[in-house]
Amino acid sequence: MFLKILYHLFVFLALFGSLMVVVSKKAIYSALFLILTMLTIASLFVLMNAQLAAALQVIVYAGAIMVLFLFVIMLLNLGKQAPLSRRSRPVRWLGLLFGVGIGAQIIAVIYSGFIPPAETTAAASVTIDHVARLILTDYLYPFEMISVLLLVAVIGAVVLARRHLVQGVETVTETAEKAGK
């Protein structure tokens, strides 16, 4: 009974949060509602007895990625409300059409029985042991591939950020030094 109330509360909060992410006009409020959504989803994981998934959800998404989002928003100072560009009427209708289409698809998938109902997944608790065993045996290859992918992304970011050093384009200080001479 109590768990059911909690479940409905968290579902409501998650839906409310994700709606507000889209509706909010200030970038920082969008980011905060996204954090709220992440946290409520983590709570739902806990209710499903998947504590590992919940903890990772909070650590990775709420703890790391969203902090970076906030960091960028604060650095760029996106506090001022950005005016929404007025789109033409046909585009809006098209948007509505796609939105309804995607929504219908999601509902169809849910009711098609493709996703097993919640009760069956709630019974088995996923421990760290299980996850670790799977990652290091059956899914070792994809796991390593993902690591390599992330490494590539990191190197790419470094190259993009430090392009002037890589390609020999002079930095601001170098320019200043030359101007000084």
Binding site: L52, A55, G63, V67, M74, G79
Partner: protein, 421 residues
């Protein structure tokens, strides 16, 4: 009454008692910090608001510590009664919730800290085993990391919503600092987790029972040091208090806060200090176990059921005592380091986090894993201490690492300073 109901009531009582005790400890921590800092700076420290208003205790006036024992409570009362100044340009909603977001994670960490061994309680003829921790999560350490990850939002939002330059800079510094040190913080714990083979705090304590030589600090000296340093950074304590650097930022992220909202930030800082000390104690310093174990017969004697109602009181008292002593000493260490080291410069902070602590944590992780694989430690089902072989091997590895880090840092310092020395 059903068993489930009684268990839930016990649960609620535990939450109230533990949070009540810790929240009462906060004013005394403030006092401890003020007295200790005063002694380090050869001052007298707070000694004005003591117990001398009680008739017959007037001789206590101006005495060391006792003379100022109520100072922190008076400060709290002052903050309660102060007028709250709200700047018109702030973002009202975020500005209001930011102190709460800072305080709540600091308190939440206490949910997983074991304060002592379990006690037995007889209620209506049924025996209940009550662990002296609010909960024992299977993912305890991950919960801790998750909560510390969320803690940064309060400071960031306070900085952003205040709509002031100082606050914004403080908030930005704080988020950058937290992101940088969280990685080292997480990685510094991996070694301990490898040794325990679990994330659960009860198991992490279990392997440290039976004497000081089983404590994890001998197996993970680097891990403990890194965790301590990262803890300073994450709780914005003095060598790393750039988010509130008084000399350049006014008061940093809480420049625009006053009255009770400021008090919440203040409390959060001390709660963080307490939580870090508690977690460090649990992970590295043997938790509630004393340095030398008493013989089993003594435990059997002191844990006798009293009046047929409670059992295990003796070892629980001893456990809480040792836990408190360790936490107290760690809090003193926090204050001591605050009184010793000056504030880091921002580039030094980033340098330490990314170029020293992160590699050190990674190396420590690999070395620990290798040693455990070499010693071929079996993961036992019940949490019991490992043999001396593993401890000695890991201690040797740790000392080698400490010396190596010291050499590298010294060489680095010489290089950075040039040949001036």
């Amino acid at each position: 009454m059903s068993r489930l109901l009684i268990e839930n009531i016990i649960f609620a009582v535990k939450i109230v008692v533990i949070f009540g005790a810790v929240l009462t400890a906060v004013p005394f921590m403030v006092l401890l910090e003020r007295v200790l800092i005063a002694r380090i700076q050869q001052r007298v420290g707070p000694n004005r608001v003591g117990l001398d208003f009680i008739p017959g205790l007037g001789f206590l006036k101006g005495k060391f510590i006792i003379g100022g024992i109520l100072q922190a409570f008076i400060d709290g009362a002052k903050l309660f009664l102060k007028e709250e100044v709200r700047v018109r340009a702030v973002d009202p909603v975020l500005w209001r919730i930011a102190p709460l977001i800072t305080l709540v994670p600091a308190i939440m960490i206490l949910a997983i800290v074991p304060f002592g061994p379990p006690i037995g309680l007889n209620i209506f003829g049924d025996w209940y085993k009550i662990p002296l921790a609010i909960t024992d999560l299977e993912v305890g350490i991950l919960f801790y990391l998750a909560v510390t990850g969320v803690a940064v939002y309060g400071i960031v939002l306070a900085g952003y919503s205040s709509n002031s330059k100082y606050s914004l800079i403080g908030g930005i510094r704080s988020s950058a600092q937290m992101i940088s040190y969280e990685i080292a913080l997480s990685l510094s714990l991996v070694g301990v987790l490898l040794i325990a083979g679990s994330f659960s705090l009860s198991r992490l304590i279990g392997i440290q029972s039976e004497g000081v030589w089983n404590w994890n600090i001998w197996k993970q000296p680097i891990g403990a040091a890194l965790f301590l340093i990262a803890g300073f950074a994450e709780s914005n304590r003095l060598p790393f208090d750039l988010p509130e650097g008084e000399s350049e930022l006014g008061a940093g992220f809480h420049t625009e806060y006053s009255s009770m909202k400021f008090a919440m930030f203040f409390m959060a800082e001390y709660m963080n200090m307490f939580s870090y000390s508690a977690i460090l104690t649990t992970l590295f310093l043997g938790g509630f176990y004393g340095p030398i174990p008493l013989p089993a017969s003594v435990y059997a004697m002191i844990d006798q059921p009293i009046f047929g109602i409670v059992s295990g009181v003796g070892s629980a008292v001893i456990g809480v005592f040792w836990f408190s002593v360790k936490v107290f000493l760690l809090v003193c260490l926090f204050v001591w380091i605050r009184g010793t080291l000056p504030r880091f410069r921002y580039d030094q902070l980033m340098d330490l986090g990314w170029k020293v602590m992160l590699p050190a944590a990674l190396v420590n992780m690999v070395v620990t894993a290798a040693v455990i694989a070499l010693v071929a430690k079996p993961i036992s089902a019940a949490p019991t201490p490992d043999g001396p072989a593993l401890t000695i091997a890991l201690l040797v590895a740790g000392v080698v690492q400490v010396v190596a880090i010291d050499r590298i840092l010294t060489a680095r310092k010489r290089r950075i300073l040039g040949h001036a020395h």
